[in-house]
Subunit: 291 residues, 4 copies
């Protein structure tokens, strides 16, 4: 059959190549995740396991797209940073955006049962957007913006849910109690009324999760070449200088850095990854043998 | 904490609103689905169940986004047509594209176990693209292009796999045997060597699947107002006129048409949908009562 | 010298091809023409000669770009309509936009001395923008919008300047006098106070100028093939149906229509054009002979 | 009259804001200037006066748009560099592109009689394009690319026209003579056959013209604050370091540098500018007094 008569419609697809030499940030956001977290009974203010489903999905994306040098997740959002000179998918905007969004989405669903003891009631949905940052300073400011955001929100939410769950206030009463308070006020409230030192709460809640590609070695003396490459979750302050001095590979010539980890004490996200990669390789091997 | 110092980075997000008054087509394509179908042992040349996972995902997208007037799926791709005057997400290109891609992706994973007796070995991934068509003729030509494509490919694949699976040719031998043949030749080969009348093969394989929003009624005499609205899968020829004369709601003022179905004989995709909607409503009701 | 080391910078030029099958409208606007018209002592509220400089520039653009089917000018703006299927400059947005803007600009300066008895004090400047209209109805509404605009503004300006120039009001007094008045009020004011029937004022002031490509013939009986092609200025109502019934070539298959003109009575803009084309052809002929 | 019914068409104008924090380069190119230069009998291979018409137009643009930090012209093209953080016209792409293109175009026509003893036979036309460069290195490479281009072309053209005008070769013979020659060969040819040391030819022909905004002072000891600001034409090598070390204001915090000029020996382009600014100011003053 002659396709040719209709094929002209292909010319309506327009080129959407991204400007070279800029940081490409793709940010994924959960669609109506307030409703989603209620429907799935997430713990308040933070559900560690639900956050790890996000992190596992982030790791899956970063494993697939080697030109992502850093990812940053908090709450129901995840940002992926492609290095400036990536030529992945010829820098076509739609390809990059949808591959990342799609793989994040499917990985979220597939990782759900590994962390959650409830079943998914309905399919989650994420939107994605692409933002371009020309300079390194812009990129750092972007990431600082997202980390400042988690700080502000998490401090508020921690105080809010303490008031609701432990002091028995209604949502509205808790809102009114917190209206107009500064950070210091909320820190004080947590300490005075609930004996909580906010800075001692888990770093993942306060700082979000930074994913970096590293060579994982057993001890600092190990030759980096030995370790297996993995996506390492880190919960550090990325606003200040020390983070960037330690992980120079992000802004510099991109070569994964070294990450020292005694396997026994490394985060479950990392252990799963190392063992899953092994399993997946074996499974694919099996399939290949059969077919 | 002052977010304001970093908030300027938000201004780097540029407006991507789509021109008004054009058909918005979003097409989803499986990433490396040749490998994916091998890893999951899809039947050749068509795996009815795997196609229905695609269809179920297409239905999920169309249920969520009410301004999609038609979807069309074949092989590992699905096209969604938003009506010209949709204002969904303010016509922001990235929002529309990523919501559709994400929901299709997660729905694919969640519908997998309903149709497939194997587990997913790894997370599937889809890309999405947006194409704009100004005129109704353009839109029909686009859909004709995709349906002509499935015809050409399916006829070839049917002959190819018959030669490989039944005549014992190697892949390469089968390729050589078919090189340069016309449609008529392949029809003849199927008939002479395998006793197959190509036109009697399942319409879903030959025509792909068209999804339309309809009011489902029990008999032609039923008042349309009675039926429940559903996304109805159809395997018709959309290249020719009769399809467009029957489903005038697509190009006209958009009001879902009537679809006559004795539930007992309606496709499983439709039955599942009608019963699942009921179940989902109940589940959500339960959650709401608990929380 | 090796250019190659630097040539990569060319890859930073991105494709800006315009969607096929839409009307392409390019509108030129004078930059700070309020100041410009004061510096060049334009007559108020309308300077016939200054408008004809605009018209002459519009004609020059339409002569050069054969795919412009209609142009419409009023005040310090001019709109050019490229037919939907133009492939001029491969539909590259910047090329189309800047060629039209540039040629309009240079033609404005070159036509100035043919109509104005003062010299240009400084270089005028115009901005240009591209707007896409998918349907014929959109295009007609666009043109109606611009013609409705000239009506509103010209009626106001006519009343305003009568009050200032003949009744001796200050600008501010005239503004206050007209604040909140309806069209009918301003018509009445012109008639009662100045004996002016607004509808008898020159059509160019009230309706703007429509440029159409026509075959100009001497009498209605002439064979159209005989006439020379020219850009004909028309001052009609393009909001209502009759205009579109008369000039069916605009929206239909584009073939210039017939325009009956006894040369003696045709507008100077048309006469100049017919004779200038002749002169230019001769001049270019001369140059060619020399070089 | 109700404009409102048509005003919806305004919503078809889409936002085209340029990404922040990138160098914005707008390059103007003459349309069919080969024909134009023949029709106006430009001297070959370089017409000093015609180049100065281009330079005068470039200066006019740079005087109007204060955020242009450098312009570079050669042959029939001119590039304008807006500083990274310009907010001129809210960085709207079409506005920036068309204002620059239009003002360059009208200034070209208006400056023509100041340099040329022939009249314009027809209106010249220029296209314009916008290219974005994220880093300073990109910008320097862009400018180097254009200056390497003028070197290659001018050396070729100089040899070509010597062969045609002095040795009496036909165009085709000259082409054949030069085919495959390297720069060194052409230098040698000019020296051996025509006694010309290429490096002694006017720098404007070999290097093009760089326009910089400077405070013009009479002697190096003058306080910079005293001088009047002007656009200074320079014919230097901008590929190498010294240029950038001398004019640090271009890439640095933008403050016009100092330019030492004894008025008597400064280029006519600069003298005209200083005196014209004065005249224009006076003319505008006069108009203001009259109106």
């Amino acid at each position: 059959m002659a396709c040719s008569r209709y094929e002209y419609v292909k010319s309506y697809e327009l080129d959407d190549r991204i400007l070279p030499n800029v940081w490409i940030v793709i940010r994924i956001d959960g669609k109506k995740f307030h409703k989603f977290s209620n429907a799935h009974k997430f713990e308040k203010p933070n559900d560690e396991n639900a956050l790890n489903v996000m992190n596992a999905a982030g790791i899956a994306v970063m494993q697939e797209f080697r030109d992502i040098v850093l990812a940053y997740g908090q709450s129901d959002e995840y940002s992926f940073v492609f290095r400036k000179d990536t030529t992945a998918f010829k820098r076509r905007a739609s390809k990059l955006l949808t591959y990342v969004t799609s793989l994040f989405s499917t990985s979220y669903v597939m990782n759900w049962p590994k962390w959650m003891d409830r079943q998914l009631v309905y399919a989650p949905c994420f939107d994605g957007r692409t933002v371009l940052y020309p300079s390194d300073a812009n990129l750092r400011d972007y990431l600082s913006w997202r980390q400042a955001d988690v700080h502000v929100n998490n401090l508020y939410n921690t105080a809010f849910w303490k008031l609701v769950l432990e002091s028995g206030l209604t949502n509205q009463q808790a809102e009114e109690r917190l209206r107009g308070t500064l950070s210091a006020d909320k820190n004080e409230l947590l300490f005075q009324e609930f004996g909580i030192n906010y800075n001692n709460l888990p770093a993942m809640y306060r700082k979000g999760t930074i994913l970096l590609r590293k060579r994982v070695v057993q001890s600092a003396n190990d030759d980096q070449e030995k370790g297996s490459q993995a996506i390492v979750p880190i919960h550090d302050d990325l606003i200040r200088e020390p983070f960037w001095r330690e992980h120079t590979e992000i802004l510099g010539k991109y070569v994964p850095g070294k990450y020292v980890s005694e396997v026994s004490s490394s985060p479950r996200l990392l252990k799963m990854q190392l063992s899953e990669e092994l399993q997946l390789a074996e499974q694919l091997q099996d399939k290949a043998n059969i077919s």
